[in-house]
């Protein structure tokens, strides 16, 4: 178990709150104390209601709290806006988001596929930060978020709303197959005919397992059937002529070679 700076700060804050409660409980003001304290807040002169020191102190606290509230609001707003723009940008079909107060506030139309979310996925690997989405930074959740961003998700998060608040406005349509080894189509368990149609190389339509575990299972099966030496997922992709996630791209041809090819020598 690792202790982070945030944990230490939280512990300090709780300790300070406890000390505050103790201080207030032991020094709770009585009649005369309160009267004298309020008298000392006022000015000596009768022309001014409160002293300059009080005004400066209250003003300082006010400005500090106001700045903190506004800055946190701006950070929340920017984060929310970016999340909406990046993660909810698929399909060009209307979505309804029901917000916390229970009202359907807006109907949004997604952007065409392939512009912003492309930056999130490179060679099948998620490039979201660890804490972008998902519980405790689990890779499965991050992959699910990328699938949402690309509009190929099998989860109910398709419209970008939280799971329990999601409202599907239209039935989901089946997408064409992406690759024989990795597909994100909404295949229901037991729908053998659809799986056979989408996986012509497997007579049974695949084992029908869902999620990352199922994909790994299918990949290893494909590797075993195709006679690959190593039965891993990367070996299967390599054998099928697909790009292997994490593998280095081939180095580009030197400029001199390209020029020689262009000139026909």
């Amino acid at each position: 178990m690792t202790i982070t700076v945030v944990d230490i700060l939280k512990a300090l804050f709780v300790l300070a709150a406890l000390v505050t409660i103790v201080v207030l409980a032991t020094n709770w003001p009585k009649g005369l104390d309160l009267q004298v304290a309020m008298r000392y807040l006022r000015s000596r002169r009768s022309s001014r209601l409160i002293s300059l020191i009080t005004v400066i102190a209250v003003g300082g606290v006010t400005i500090g709290v106001m700045a903190l509230v506004i800055v946190l609001g701006v950070m929340n707003g920017m984060q929310n806006d970016l999340r909406e723009k990046i993660l909810v940008s698929d399909l060009g079909r209307p979505r309804l988001c029901r917000r916390g107060d229970g009202h359907r506030r807006r109907v949004r139309h997604g952007q065409p596929r392939g512009d912003e979310p492309a930056a999130l996925l490179h060679q099948g690997r998620s490039h979201l930060p660890e804490n972008a989405v998902g519980r405790r930074g689990r890779r499965r959740d991050r992959d699910q978020a990328v699938e949402q961003a690309l509009g190929v998700s099998r989860g109910r998060h398709h419209d970008g709303c939280p799971r329990r608040l999601a409202v599907q406005s239209q039935p989901r349509r089946v997408r064409p197959q992406v690759s024989p080894l990795r597909s994100h189509r909404p295949v229901r368990n037991g729908d053998v005919r659809l799986r056979q149609q989408l996986r012509p190389h497997e007579p049974s339509g695949g084992p029908g397992l869902r999620g990352a575990w199922g994909r790994r299972h299918r990949d290893r099966g494909a590797a075993r059937r195709s006679g690959a030496r190593h039965r891993g997922r990367a070996a299967a992709r390599k054998h099928a002529g697909l790009p292997v996630p994490g593998a280095r791209l081939a180095a580009p041809e030197p400029l001199a070679v390209l020029r020689a090819q262009a000139s026909g020598r």
């Binding site: 201080v23 609001g73 701006v74």
Partner: protein
């Protein structure tokens, strides 16, 4: 600053027989009161200004850089509560030392203080 400003009054109160714990309590209450008023004003003003900026698009920004044309403000109640709590804690703990200093003053020296 308040303790320095009110040194002579503290001396008079001590000379009249007021307990040191009550002197300490007076300045502690003053600090807590200032913190309460400032926090309440700051939180209310911050929420109002944030809502105005968000609704009225008061702060425009370059959409070619940020992909949005105005500064979005989304106030989270939990954040506001955390800020209020932290402010109250600090406002309570900050006047502890000055109030203890005020309670330790010698009445004779305090009355002579210019």
């Amino acid at each position: 600053m308040v303790v320095r400003d009110k040194t002579r009054e503290i001396g008079i109160l001590l000379a009249m027989g007021m307990q040191r714990s009550r002197i300490r309590r007076v300045f502690l209450v003053q600090g807590v009161f200032i913190g309460l008023v400032g926090t309440a004003l700051g939180a209310v003003l911050g929420l109002i200004v944030g809502a105005m900026v968000n609704r009225g698009h008061l702060i425009p920004i370059d959409p070619s850089i940020y992909f949005i044309d105005h500064l979005p403000v989304l106030n989270n109640p939990l954040d506001a509560l955390a800020v209020i709590g932290a402010s109250l804690v600090i406002a309570t703990l900050a006047p502890l030392y000055p109030s203890m200093q005020a309670a330790r003053l010698d009445p004779v020296n305090a009355i002579r203080y210019e």
